[in-house]
C-alpha cells in the first residue's frame, strides 16, 4: 500500500480514537452517563483489557490460551478472600488497595508457575493444557473449604462509586494500550514476534525463548488478575460460576481475532465491534435468542476469510476479492502463516543488531 494512503488512514484512525476517548472521558458529566451505563462501559473496558492481555501471549507470541479467564477468576477470588469476612482463614477485611496489589502479585505468581509448565508445550497442546487449568482451578476453588467458603460464594461490603471505577478502568486500559504499543517496539517484544514466527530459529539466534515466554505469560496473567480483582470489588459478590466463566476467554479470543491478532489496536476495535453488535442484536426482540449464533457465524467467517481481522481489512492486506477470483486448492501450497512483513523486518533488524554486537 502507498505510504500516503497509509498515513491518511493512520491519521483518520488516530483522530477517531481521540474523539472517542474525549467522549468517554466527559461521558459521566452528562445525563446519559448514569450508573448503569457507566457499569456496562466499565465491564466493556475490563473485557478490552482482558483481550489486550490475551493478545500479549496469543497474538504476539502465538501461544493461543484457551483458559485465559482463569487469571480473571484467580484475581477476583484473591480480592474476595482478602476483603470478605466470610473466608474462615482470613476473616479480617483488608483495605482495598493492598488487596488489589496482593491479587495482582498472587496471580502473577500462579501464572509464572503454570507458565513454566505449559509454556514448554507447543501448538494445540498448550491450548488444551490451559483449558484444563481453567477447569482445574474452578473446581479447586469449590473444594478449598474454609479459604473460599466452599464455593458458596463471598460477599464484599459494597461501596458503590461507578464514576470513580469507570475512570480507573479507563486509565488502566489506556496504560495497557500504551504498554502493548511500547512492548512491540522493544527488543523483548521483537523476540516474542520472532518466537511466534519461528521458535527454533529464534532460539538458535540466541533468544532465551522459554524465559521470554514465561515472562510475557506472567505479565499477561497479572494484568488479567488485576482486572478480575477490580471486577470483584465492584460486583461485591462472587462464586466459582461467575468468577470463572468460559465466556471471558471466548470474548478475548473472539475480540482479538475480529480486530486483528497480534496488533495493538486489534483487541480494542474487535471488542468494541463485538459490543456494538451485541447491543444491536439485543435491542431486537426477535434476535435476542440468535445473538450467539450470529456471533459464531461471524467468528467462523472472519477466521476463514479475514485471518488478519478488521485491522488487516483496513490496511488492505487482505484482498477479499482475490480469494474468490483465484481458488487455490487447500491441499497445495504451504501453510498460510499469519505474517506481518513490517514486524518481521523489525524483528529481523533487532536480531541482526544483536548478532553484530
Amino acid at each position: 500500500m502507498k505510504s500516503t494512503t497509509k498515513r491518511v488512514l493512520q491519521g483518520v484512525g488516530l483522530g477517531l480514537g481521540c474523539l472517542l476517548l474525549v467522549g468517554l472521558l466527559v461521558l459521566p458529566l452528562f445525563e446519559r452517563g448514569n450508573d448503569s451505563t457507566l457499569f456496562t462501559l466499565t465491564l466493556l473496558l475490563a473485557s478490552i483489557g482482558t483481550a489486550i492481555s490475551w493478545n500479549l501471549t496469543g497474538g504476539f507470541t502465538g501461544y493461543v490460551d484457551f483458559g485465559h479467564a482463569v487469571w480473571f477468576g484467580i484475581g477476583a477470588y484473591t480480592t474476595g478472600v482478602l476483603m470478605s469476612n466470610e473466608s474462615d482463614w482470613i476473616p479480617q477485611q483488608w483495605p482495598l488497595v493492598p488487596a488489589l496489589i496482593v491479587s495482582a502479585i498472587f496471580t502473577a505468581l500462579v501464572a509464572n508457575l503454570v507458565g513454566r509448565l505449559t509454556m514448554r508445550l507447543s501448538g494445540p497442546y498448550f491450548s488444551i493444557a490451559m483449558l484444563g487449568f481453567f477447569v482445574f482451578f474452578r473446581e479447586v476453588v469449590r473444594v478449598m473449604g474454609g479459604l473460599t467458603n466452599r464455593g458458596v460464594g463471598l460477599t464484599i461490603e459494597p461501596v458503590i462509586n461507578r464514576p470513580l471505577w469507570y475512570y480507573v478502568t479507563l486509565i488502566f486500559v489506556l496504560v495497557l494500550v500504551y504498554l502493548s504499543w511500547w512492548l512491540r517496539r522493544t527488543r523483548f517484544g521483537a523476540s516474542l514476534i520472532a518466537i511466534r514466527e519461528d521458535e527454533i530459529g529464534a532460539e538458535m539466534r540466541g533468544i532465551d525463548t522459554t524465559r521470554n515466554k514465561v515472562m510475557i505469560f506472567t505479565l499477561s496473567g497479572a494484568i488479567t488478575g488485576l482486572l478480575g480483582a477490580m471486577w470483584a470489588y465492584q460486583n461485591t459478590f462472587l462464586d466459582p460460576d461467575i468468577a470463572f466463566v468460559e465466556v471471558r476467554t471466548i470474548d478475548a479470543v473472539m475480540g482479538t481475532m475480529l480486530g486483528g491478532l497480534g496488533t495493538v489496536a486489534g483487541p480494542i476495535i474487535g471488542m468494541a465491534f463485538l459490543f456494538v453488535l451485541r447491543e444491536l442484536l439485543w435491542t431486537q426482540e426477535s434476535l435476542l435468542q440468535t445473538h450467539l449464533i450470529v456471533q459464531g457465524l461471524l467468528l467462523g467467517a472472519v477466521v476463514i476469510y479475514l485471518p488478519k481481522g478488521l485491522m488487516g481489512l483496513v490496511r488492505g492486506e487482505v484482498k477479499l476479492l482475490d480469494r474468490f477470483r483465484k481458488r487455490t486448492s487447500t491441499f497445495e501450497g504451504m501453510e498460510a502463516a499469519v505474517l506481518d512483513d513490517e514486524v518481521l523486518d523489525e524483528a529481523a533488524g533487532e536480531l541482526e543488531t544483536e548478532v553484530s554486537r
Partner: protein, 299 residues
C-alpha cells in the same frame, strides 16, 4: 470391599461409554490434525436426535442409533467438504477457532429449536440392574453401551488394519505427502474419516442419552474428557482409547467413591484435569503411542 467392587464396576461402565464418545475425536485429530473443538456438540446433537425419536415415535435409542449414525455420517461429509477442508492446511489455531465457532452455533441453534431444558431419555432396554449376589449391582444401561462400544471398537480396528481404505487412512495420518505420491485420494480419505467419526460420535450421544442429562450446553465437559483421554492414549490410537477411557472412568469413580464429604464429583474433575496437565507436560506423545507420529511436544 463391596464399595470397592461397586466403584470398579461403575468405573468400567463409565469407561465403556467414554470409549465410544472419544474414538471419533481421537481419530479426527490423529488422521487430519484437526482438533474438533465442537466434539461435545456432536454428542449433544446425537443425544437430541435420540430424544426426539423416543418422545415422538417411541423408538428405543439402541435402535435409533444406527439411523442417527447414517444421518450424521452424511452431515459430517458435507461439513468436511464445506468448512473443514478450507482450514485443514492453515495453522492449528485456525481450525481450532473454526470448530469453536461451530460449537457455539450448534449449541445455540439447538437451544433455539428445543429449548434449554434438561432432558432424560427413557428406555425399556437400557433400564434396571443386574445384581451380582450381595456384592454389587451392574447397571444395564451402561452394559448396553459398553457392548456397542466393544463392537464398534473391533469393527473399527479391523477396518483400519485390514481394508484398503483403512490402510489409506493410516497412511494419510503418517505422512500425507507420501500417501499422495503413492496415489491415495487424500480428499476422499479425509472426508470419509471425518464423516465416519462424526457418525460414531453422534451415535455415542444417542446411546448415552439414557445415562447422562441432555441439554444444549452439555458438550464442553465431554469434549474436555475427550482431550484427557486422547492425551493419555496418543492420537488416533483405537486400543489406546479403550485403555485410557477405562483408566479415566475407574479413576474418577474411585475418587468419587472415596472422597471425603460430598466433594466427590469436584475431586473427580480435579483428578481428571490434573492428569491431563501432568500427561501433557511429562509425556506429550501419550502413553500408548498413536496413529500419527508426534511432531509437536515439549522442547
Amino acid at each position: 470391599m463391596d464399595t470397592l467392587v461397586q466403584a470398579l464396576i461403575n468405573g468400567i461402565a463409565v469407561g465403556g461409554f467414554l470409549t465410544l464418545m472419544v474414538l471419533g475425536f481421537s481419530i479426527i485429530w490423529g488422521v487430519m490434525g484437526v482438533i474438533n473443538f465442537a466434539h461435545g456438540e456432536f454428542i449433544m446433537v446425537g443425544a437430541y436426535m435420540a430424544w426426539f425419536a423416543r418422545s415422538e415415535w417411541g423408538i428405543e435409542p439402541l435402535y435409533s442409533a444406527l439411523p442417527i449414525f447414517m444421518i450424521m455420517f452424511v452431515v459430517g461429509f458435507i461439513l468436511q467438504k464445506l468448512v473443514v477442508n478450507k482450514v485443514i492446511d492453515r495453522p492449528h489455531l485456525v481450525s481450532l477457532l473454526v470448530m469453536f465457532a461451530a460449537s457455539i452455533i450448534m449449541s445455540n441453534s439447538v437451544k433455539l429449536i428445543a429449548g434449554a431444558d434438561f432432558r432424560r431419555v427413557n428406555s425399556d432396554i437400557q433400564k434396571g440392574f443386574w445384581e451380582l449376589g450381595d456384592l454389587a449391582t451392574i447397571p444395564r444401561k451402561h452394559t448396553v453401551v459398553l457392548a456397542v462400544a466393544l463392537v464398534v471398537l473391533i469393527a473399527l480396528q479391523t477396518f483400519l488394519q485390514r481394508t484398503r481404505l483403512g490402510k489409506s487412512i493410516r497412511a494419510a495420518a503418517q505422512n500425507r505427502q507420501a500417501a499422495q505420491i503413492v496415489g491415495i485420494d487424500i480428499k476422499w480419505v479425509y472426508a470419509f474419516t471425518f464423516a465416519l467419526c462424526i457418525g460414531i460420535t453422534a451415535m455415542s450421544g444417542a446411546l448415552t442419552s439414557t445415562i447422562i442429562p441432555v441439554f444444549p450446553f452439555m458438550g464442553p465437559p465431554w469434549a474436555l474428557r475427550a482431550f484427557v483421554i486422547t492425551a493419555l492414549s496418543g492420537l488416533g490410537s483405537v486400543k489406546g482409547t479403550l485403555g485410557a477411557a477405562m483408566f479415566l472412568g475407574i479413576l474418577e469413580s474411585l475418587v468419587a467413591t472415596y472422597a471425603p464429604g460430598n466433594s466427590g464429583s469436584q475431586l473427580a474433575v480435579i483428578t481428571a484435569f490434573g492428569l491431563l496437565v501432568l500427561t501433557l507436560v511429562v509425556r506429550p506423545q501419550g502413553l500408548f503411542g498413536g496413529l500419527r507420529p508426534v511432531e509437536s511436544g515439549a522442547h
